[in-house]
Each structure stands twice: as C-alpha cells, then as structure tokens.
C-alpha cells in the first residue's frame, strides 16, 4: 500500500481508540525525563500553586508537580484539581453516572470466596446439574478497574466529561442505532430490544449499591478502555475551556442515556441464542453480583432467532439498497473499516470482495401481475439510409416534450456550425462523435417516451448497409417496426432496391408482424397525394409479397423535419387530403405483445460497460424470456462462468425484471474477459447450450450454395459456413419438395440447411437467425 493510500484509509476514530497503549509515554517520563527548563518552570509554578492553595492542606510538592505537569503548567486548573482531590473529601454523587456506580457494583463482592490458582473447575462443578448451578457456586465476575471515562480535570465536578470526538462518536452511534431500530425488522430485533438495559438503568434508584435489580453500568461492557489522551496538548485543551456551557450540559443527569450508546453494543443474535435460557424459570441469583446481564434479562426468547434475516443481512441489504440509489452506504463500522484497509492492500490481486446482493426471493411473475403498469412496447425504426429515420424520431421526441427546447436549440447551433443544420433533430439520437461528424447513424439508439396508454422504447436503426448487423440487433428487440420511406423523387426508387427492401425482409424474418410505413419527406414533393398513393401501392405490393398481412400495415404521410402528422395533424393546406391518424396515434393503437415469462431466463448481452464506481461491470440487454431478480445466480454462455445479479435497473433501480424489458444488470462475481457482446445470460438450472452446428429452415434472399457466412442473432455475430443444403421445402406446407440434395437454392425458396460455426455459441431452437455473406443478407430463418 502506498503511503498516500495509508493516509487516505486512516480512520481517526480508530486510530484514537488504538492509542490507549501509547498513553503512558508522557506519564512515565514525567519523573526522569524532564528537562532543565521544565524543572525550573515546575519549581516556580509549585510556589505559585502553594500560594493559591488554601492553607491547612497536606499536599506534597510531588502531588502539585504531578498535577502541574499533567495540566501543563495551567495553574488555575491545577489548583482546582488539587483542591477537589485532596482537600475536599469525596462525597457520594447523586447522579447515576456510569463510572462511579461501576465501582460500587464491583466492590460488593459479598463474601464469596475467590478462587485460588490451583482450584479445579471440573471438580467444582462435578456434582452440579447442567445449567442449574447452585447460586453459591456461581462465580463472581470482577470487572477490571477502568479509569473513569472522559477527560480528566476541568472545573466541573460532575460526571466525567466527554471529549468532542467522543461526543461525536456517541451521537453517530446513537443515530445509527436508531436507524437500525427504526427499520422495524421484526422477530430477531424484538428480543434484542428487550435486552436494552438502558431503561432499567435510567429508572433505577440512584442509591445503587443495594438494589435488587442488576443495574449494570455500561462502561465495563466495552472491550476497550475508555480513551484518555495526553491533555498536555494545549491546542486540544483550549477550545474545551472556552465551552463551559457545553460541558455543563453534558454533565447533566441525562448523560447516562447517552453514554450507553457509546459503550454498549447490542448483543448479536448469536449471543442472544446463547444466553437466553430455555425455560422461563427464574433462577435464584445473588444481588449485587456482577453476572452476565444478558442471561438474566432475556428469559423469554421463544421465537426462532434464525427465522428472519440476520442483522448482518439487514445491514448488507440496507447497504446495497443505498448503493443502488447511488448514495453513500451506511456509515461503516469500525470492523468493516479495518477490513477495508486490509482489503485495499489486497486489491491488487483483483479479488472480488463485493458482497453478493441478497435475493429477496420474490415471486417475480406474481409481482409483475401486481405491478400492472402501462403496456410496454419496443419498436424499431427501419428504412434506407438517409430516409430520415433519426430525424423523424428526433421530431417525435421533441414534439412529445421528451427533449426540451434548449437541447434542440443547442443541437441546432452545433449542427449549423458543422454545416448540417438539417441534422439537428437527428442528433437527439445520433450521439456518437463519428455519427455526428458523418451524419449517419452507426449504431442502434434507444430512447423512451410515453403516451397515455403505453410506454414505448424507440430503437433507431442505422440505414447504411455496413451497419446492418447493428440493425439486426435492434430489430431482434422489437415488437413492431416503423418503416420510413423517403418520398422525394428518385430516393424512393433507390431505397426500394436498397435497404428498404432488405430491412423489411429482415424484420419480417425476425418475427415482426406489424409494420407502420411512414412516407417521409412529403413536404419536398409539396404533399402530392399521387406520390403518396404511388408509393403506398408499390410498397404494399412488395410487403405482402414478403409475407406481411395487409391488415397489419398502416401508411402515414408525414414530414419528419417539419413535424406534420407525427405528434400533430398537418397544418399544410396541401396536405388537407389526409385525415387519418398521426404516427403517435397509430403507435398508441398497438396491442401488447405476449411475453414468454414462464420460460427459463435468456438475456442476450447487448452492451458491456462500466456502470459507475460501485458497479465495475454492467451489461444491458433485452430479456428474451423468463425473469430475473436481484441476487440471482446466472450463467454466462459460452464462457460458462457463473455470476450474480448485484442490482438491476430499468431506468431506475428495481428488484426484478421480466421478459420483454430492456434491463441493465450490474454483475458481481465475474470478470469482464468472460463476457462478450452477444453472449447469453441464462439460469444455471436450465442453461442454454453452446453449439457448433445447427439445422435451420431458412428463406433464401439470395442464391445459397454451401458457402461461408456470418451468422447473426441479435447482437450475436459469428462466422460459419453452410455445410449442407438438406432439402428445398414447400413454401406453405413445409414438406420436402424437389431434389433431395439441391446444389443451389434460389432467392425466395425455403430450404433446410446445416450450418457449421467456427466457434461454439449459445443458440437454441426456435431462435431466429440471419445469415449474411459479402455484405448481403442471403437468408434468414428458424433454428430447428
């Protein structure tokens, strides 16, 4: 550990606690180690003190000098101290203060014989029954003599003062205890609450010594002796003296209620079980004995203390909860801090010391039913490059007030600076530096908006042919699609040959049934209805040929740049011929899609990133089937590494997530090297298998021969080859037709093929795969 780290990890409270041992230095040295000047000063001060002291006291020079040394020549204090200690006889204090009382308790040992060194305990207990030790044989614990707590000296004659740090620690500890108690964590805590001796102590008659109740003073239960510091440090002392008011307040009788918080830790659940007696019979006990107060006080712990979560669990849960909110966790206890200091040294070894999140063991499906919120739908925006997909979505978000005016203005200014003022709206979604510089969408952008009925997730796909893998990743998450078509002259025609066609075929083969066709840029052809009709007819013909049902296709004339027929109806007089719904209205009509909730969990990793300081490894992706919750153990395929869900986020921290949701999962117990984009997280009980070869029923888009291909499934992108064409199938019945082992499959035909992959990847039937080669989609289909 570097010096710097040591200093950083240094905990003042801790260090001070540890300091007890070091106290002696100054003291011991007082006799022999005093320098000449000190001796001279001591001598002079002694004279002054002697003068200040009232006559008649028999105080020795040594006593005076000791006190002087202690108070570092503060004559006034020395005098007060000396008068108090030696001249006035100490009287019984009325306050039920800890230190004094303790002494009383201890001294009342009631004549029981102390054990000698050679005494045999075995013999002693030989004839006594188990757990019923006769009272006279019960031992008497004699508490060690602790120096009274607090600071020495001072003019007050009350209970010992607390140092500022002590007071601070006390306040903090009390607060923490209150917090814990207020969490209302049931069964285990209750018996513990009854263990708190505070009430008894505070209500006990001050004449302590003879009470029949065991009034246990707190100080001796603390493992470490109370802190006493060298008060020769004047810097420390000065402010003390200047705050007499506070000192006074601290010495008030209410003190005992506070001090216990400082000194007394709550008994653990373990201690509780250990010392709670099995029966309710009260054993005879001796008054005035210092016995284990726990044993005597909890006589009725019948509840099973392990039924609920342990206090540790509660703390951990609370911490992880706090962590999830991004706030600071609970203040650490001393023990934890110590552990942290050690851990930071070990950190170089990259051990994962993050505690696993505790599962709440929710019935996620039931929770999902209960939390019946809005419908959720994901839709992918597809179309040829430069059809205006991003701009259309930017406009949608802007008109629905998801993006504020200021942001748009800023984008507009920046876009103008780059000479691309028409791209301002697209920049809402195109946030990458390269995307903005080049004016094309490269990767899927996700964004959310809500209507009254549904909350939507937009997946804005890139239109450029090079980024079709990204588009496939987006389409695999979509429930339905918005196909954007550029209506301007020439663009529509080139688009239909290009990605308009390919995208439509792709989304179809990936299972998307419903399509909204936004005929964009109609403002450039002055809202010509003929153009709209022409495009609609052509596209409809193509789409029905591709296998879409015409009732699932809706056409909307619109302008993304101007915003007509998107969130509002068009105000252009030329567009008055259209009276149908706007894009948002059509989107709102979408029916909720059934999710595979009860199937085993499958989550394809769409992104791996560092989710923040507390979550060094996070992934995001869409849950394809099943559900997961915090604390779940997961298996990452194909690496077959186990990991745990530390926390979950769907825009905000949640406890569970179900199929269809795009979720961010913070993982623990796994290293980044075992995860790749396109990997699958699944349940270890029912894992997805890694396969190197599969048979699939595919629709050919291009000629298929046995050849090398890229296999896409969502974000999964891997290389392989078509090993064999098994048969050409009938388009409708799926029966084998034609030759047995065809040499080649023509576009539009359906064939059964065997694909061999270079690496084994997690795939399973009935997954949908897309096969591409040389930048063209050659086929798409279903695993068998």
């Amino acid at each position: 550990m570097s010096r710097h780290q040591i200093v950083k990890n240094l905990d003042l409270d801790d260090e001070l606690d540890d300091y007890d041992g070091g106290d002696d230095y100054g003291y011991d040295g007082a006799g022999e180690g005093i320098s000449e000047e000190d001796q001279e000063q001591l001598r002079q001060c002694t004279i002054i003190v002697r003068e200040a002291l009232p006559q008649g006291g028999n105080i020795t020079d040594k006593q005076i000098q000791d006190s002087l040394w202690y108070y570092y020549y503060d004559i006034e204090k020395t005098v007060t101290y000396l008068v108090k200690t030696y001249l006035e006889p100490p009287k019984e204090k009325k306050t039920p203060g800890g230190g004094k009382k303790t002494k009383d308790n201890i001294e009342g040992s009631d004549g029981s014989k102390p054990c000698s060194g050679t005494f045999s305990f075995v013999k002693f207990f030989e004839d006594s029954p188990w757990l019923k030790v006769p009272s006279e044989r019960q031992t008497i614990f004699i508490a060690p003599l602790y120096p009274r707590g607090g600071l020495l000296g001072g003019s007050s004659d009350g209970a010992p003062k607390m140092s500022k740090l002590q007071a601070l620690a006390a306040a903090r500890k009390k607060k923490k205890a209150e917090e814990q108690m207020s969490q209302g964590i049931a069964d285990v805590e209750k018996p513990m609450a009854s263990l708190q001796i505070n009430e008894q102590v505070s209500t006990t008659n001050p004449t302590v010594a003879s009470t029949s109740k065991i009034s246990v003073g707190k100080p001796f239960s603390r493992g470490l002796p109370l802190r006493k510091r060298k008060d020769s440090n004047e810097h420390e002392k000065a402010p003390k003296a200047s705050q007499p008011k506070k000192e006074h307040r601290l010495s008030q009788p209410e003190l005992p209620q506070e001090i216990p918080m400082v000194d007394q830790a709550e008994p653990s659940a373990f201690a509780n079980t250990m010392f709670s007696s099995p029966s309710q019979v009260t054993r005879p006990r001796q008054d005035n004995l210092f016995t284990l107060h726990l044993a005597l006080d909890t006589t009725s712990t019948t509840a099973n203390p392990f039924a609920g979560p342990s206090p540790d669990d509660i703390v951990i849960a609370a911490q992880s909860k706090a962590a999830g909110k991004g706030g600071k966790g609970n203040p650490k206890t001393n023990g934890e801090k110590r552990a942290d200091q050690i851990a930071s040294g070990v950190e170089a070894l990259k051990l994962d010391n993050t505690p696993r999140a505790k599962s709440k063991n929710l019935d996620v499906l039931a929770e999902f039913e209960k939390a019946k919120t809005k419908n959720a739908a994901n839709f992918v925006v597809i179309g040829h490059v430069d059809a205006g997909k991003s701009t259309l979505m930017g406009r949608l978000l802007y008109d629905l007030k998801v993006v504020d005016q200021r942001t748009i203005d800023r984008y507009r200014k920046e876009a103008e600076k780059m000479g691309k003022s028409s791209f301002a709206l697209a920049w809402v979604l195109d946030q990458g530096t390269e995307e903005r510089a080049r004016g094309v969408t490269i990767d899927i952008a996700t964004n959310k908006f809500e209507t009254e009925k549904t909350s939507f997730t937009i997946l804005d796909a890139p239109g450029h042919r090079d980024f079709i893998p990204n588009m496939i990743a987006g389409a695999s998450q979509a429930d339905f699609a918005v196909l954007v078509i550029d209506a301007s002259t020439g663009s529509f025609e080139s688009g239909l040959r290009g990605q308009t066609k390919e995208h439509a075929l792709l989304v179809r083969s990936m299972g998307v049934q419903r399509l909204i066709v936004a005929v964009n840029k109609l403002d450039t052809v002055s809202w010509s209805q003929d153009r709209f009709t022409e495009i609609s007819t052509q596209v409809l013909a193509f789409l029905t040929a591709a296998g879409f049902l015409s009732k699932n296709i809706t056409f909307i004339p619109c302008s993304g740049l101007k915003g007509d027929n998107i969130a509002r109806h068009s105000t252009e007089p030329e567009a008055s011929w259209y009276s149908g719904p706007t894009l948002v209205e059509v989107l709102d009509d979408s029916e909720p899609v059934a999710r595979a909730l009860s199937k085993p969990l499958r989550l394809t990793i769409g992104d791996i990133f560092r989710g923040g300081v507390q979550n060094p490894l996070s992934i995001s992706g869409r849950i394809e089937s099943g559900s997961l919750q915090m604390g779940d153990a997961l298996l990452a395929q194909p690496s077959s590494e186990k990991c745990y869900v530390k926390s979950l986020e769907i825009d905000e921290p949640v406890d569970w997530a179900v199929a269809g949701q795009n979720v961010t999962v913070h993982l623990s117990g796994i290293e980044e090297q075992y995860l790749k984009i396109g990997d699958v997280l699944c349940t270890p009980v029912n894992p997805i298998q890694n396969i190197k070869q599969f048979t699939a029923k595919v629709l050919a888009f291009e000629f298929i021969t046995p050849m090398q291909i890229d296999v896409h499934r969502g974000r999964l992108h891997t290389a392989g080859r078509i090993k064999e064409i098994v048969a050409v199938l009938d388009k409708h019945t799926g029966a084998v037709s034609g030759k047995k082992r065809p040499r080649i499959v023509k576009p539009g035909m359906i064939a059964r093929i065997v694909v061999e992959l270079d690496l084994s990847v997690p795939l399973e039937a009935p997954g949908r795969v897309v096969l591409r080669s040389d930048g063209q989609t050659v086929a798409a289909g279903l695993l068998e």
Partner: protein
C-alpha cells in the same frame, strides 16, 4: 522418363508448405535428425545422449504448423544404423535449410511434379499483411502466396452508444485501436514497403489508419510515416476472416495485387459462383458430379476444373490416385486445371463445395440424379448430418 533426382533448397517459409503437399503417406523420407539414444551398460546403469544422425522413415503421418512453417513427419525407421533400430518410430522435423530426400512409393505423378515445378519458381510474390476488422474484432493475417495465416485474433469489448455516454464508446474504440496496433506491430513489420490491407465495414478501418498515422506522428516513428501510402483501406462487410474474399475483389486491392496467385484464385472462384448462379447446367460441384461430367466430355477445351490441393493430401493412396487421374484426364482432353490452395480463402470456399468444381464447355443436366450413393460413399463428410 523418370525423374530420379532433383535438388531442392528451401529458401523461405513456403518451402515447408510445398513439402507438406509433396510428401504423402507411404513415401520414404530421408533426412538428418537428432535422436536421443539411451545405452545400457553391463552394470545396468543407463546413459542417454543426443545423437545427430541420418534417418530414413516410411511416412505414416504428417502435420504442418503454418504459424512457424514447420513440418513434422512421423513414421517407422526403414534403414537401420548404429543408433536406431529398424521399425522404431521417429518424427522428422523439416525446417528451413534442412535437406531431405523423398522417394515416392508409386513414382512421381503429374501433380507432384507440378508442385515441384511450382515450388522452385523464382518469381515469388511477397507476403501481404492484412487486418480484417469490425468494431471490437480484428483478425490479423498474412496472405502469402499459398496460404493465409491467421496470426492473431483481437477481441475487445467496446461499450455501445448509450444516450449521454458518447465518450465511453470513443474511449473503447481508442483502446481497441491501441490493442490492435500493438498486436500488429508484434506480428508484422509494417514499415516494409509492401501493401498493408485494412478492411472493415463502416469507418473502422479508416479510423484505424488514422490512428496508426497519428500514433506514428506522436511517437516520431519516421519509418512508419514513410510507409503510410502503402496502407490500403478496403471495404469488407464484416470483420471475420472469410471477408478476405470480398477484399480480394475490391478494385483497390486488385490494382496492387494483380496477378498474384491468390488474387487469381479468388477470381476463379468468383467466376464459378457467377456461373453457378445462372444455373444453366454448366457449373457443377461435388466429386461424383464432376467426375461424371468429365466422363461425358464436358471438360474439354474451354472447360475448367477447380480442385483443392487438400484432395491430393489424402491419407489413402487410392483417393489421391483418383484425383490425379481426373487431373490428367482433363489436361489430356484440353481442359484447364486450376489447383487451389486449401489454405487460402478461395480454397476454403471451394472446400465448402466439397473441394472440386467444374465449369463445363456445354450444359449437362441431371449429373447429380443417380450419383447419390456414390457421393455418400466418399467419406468426405457429405453424408447428411442430423443434429
């Protein structure tokens, strides 16, 4: 006429590869070797020594390591000497500058002689390094005359674009470039005046080129900067190795690498694919189909036989003979024979089509009708696999 003896000296790494294609199971190979010999004295104590000796073996198996260009031939010793008894096994390592004598069991056939001729040709084309990449994945490979050697595959997870976190992606991309460049420099000397192909979909390769130059400028690497005109950015549809096919087609690469063997081989395969797509009965693939086509005279003048050299490497003598016979027949009939290297991408494509394909002079239909049992009996993985 019989070729009795020919001296061949290996000068570069491709020699081992040629030897790999020349030496077949059953041949006798004689080469110097280092062998550990253990002697036992009369008292029973043993004493082992490493001895340099010349050993003749009857080949039983070969293995070729393309990364280091080393050929290991193992077999049984057929010629006894003082150190090595007859019949014991030995593995000969054939390396650069190591002489060997090869005796073919059944004499040298035409394909083998062609290979020798090919291997001693002087005008060698250089090695072209290529980086085929996409976001998060890069394959660094060397395209030599006869093979494509994958040197290293680099995979780095790049955070995807997320709203408000554009910086993460850029940072990830930079890290990816740094890793690729570091790996590239370790495997390839990119300061040599020869083309360096950088291929990717989108802007990754262009970004990488920019990164190399900016790094060279930053570190003051003059040699690298001087060579920057040789960095060729090419489009490919993915970062997987088989995209090399596409790269070979690109005009920019063709201009630089015209007439290299691998560019030609790529061209053959493209021609064949184009013919196959027409589906007019002139393009056929598969062993039995091609053989039948040859029987019917379809591979006369103007016909082209594409055959993978892996077929000549067959362990069974009969299989090799079958293909050598086919090659001889086609050549005799005036057809053209093109032997593709199975270690190139074009060869891999042909391998997918069972290793042999033909463009016929005239259309022939239904060559595959009756050939089912025949094809199934081939034992080259053509039988239907059901998962």
């Amino acid at each position: 006429m019989r070729l009795i003896k020919q001296d061949i000296i290996e000068r570069d790494g491709s020699g081992s590869w040629h030897a790999y294609n020349l030496i077949a199971v059953g041949d006798t190979l004689r080469a110097s070797a280092v062998r550990k010999v253990t002697t036992e004295s009369s008292t029973g104590s043993t004493n082992s020594k490493r001895i340099h000796t010349t050993i003749s073996i009857l080949t039983t198996s070969l293995s070729f390591d393309p990364q280091v260009s080393q050929l290991h031939v193992s077999g049984r010793v057929v010629e006894e000497n003082t150190f090595v008894p007859m019949g014991s096994y030995h593995t000969l390592d054939l390396e650069l500058q190591r002489n060997f004598t090869l005796t073919k069991k059944d004499g040298w056939d035409s394909v083998a002689l062609d290979m020798i001729r090919e291997s001693i040709r002087v005008d060698k084309e250089g090695v072209v390094p290529a980086v085929v990449m996409q976001e998060g994945l890069a394959n660094i490979c060397l395209i030599t005359e006869y093979q494509t050697v994958l040197k290293q595959r680099v995979e780095v997870a790049i955070p995807k674009k997320r709203s408000g976190r554009a910086g993460d992606h850029d940072k990830g991309l930079d890290k990816f470039f740094a890793t690729v460049l570091e790996t590239l420099l370790r495997h390839v000397d990119i300061t040599q005046p020869r083309p360096l192909l950088l291929a990717s979909p989108g802007f990754v390769a262009a970004g990488f080129q920019k990164y190399i130059i900016s790094e060279a400028t930053r570190t003051g690497n003059k040699a690298l900067l001087g060579n920057k005109s040789n960095f060729l950015v090419v489009h490919s549809s993915s970062g997987h190795l088989h995209s090399l096919t596409e790269i070979m087609k690109s005009p920019a690469v063709l201009a630089k690498l015209k007439d290299t063997k691998y560019a030609r081989e790529s061209q053959y395969m493209d021609d064949f694919s184009a013919m196959l797509r027409k589906d007019d009965g002139r393009a056929w693939y598969g062993p039995s189909e091609v053989e039948r086509a040859a029987e019917k005279g379809g591979l006369g003048p103007g016909g082209v036989l594409l055959i993978n050299n892996s077929l000549f490497r067959a362990q069974e003598v009969g299989v090799r003979k079958r293909w050598v016979g086919l090659v001889d027949r086609v050549k005799g009939g005036g057809g053209e024979v093109r032997i593709l290297s199975s270690d190139h991408e074009s060869g891999k494509r042909l391998e997918n089509l069972s290793g042999v394909a033909a463009i016929l002079t005239f259309p022939l239909e239904d060559l595959d009708e009756s050939g089912e049992e025949d094809g199934a009996g081939d034992g080259d993985g053509e039988t239907a696999m059901v998962i």
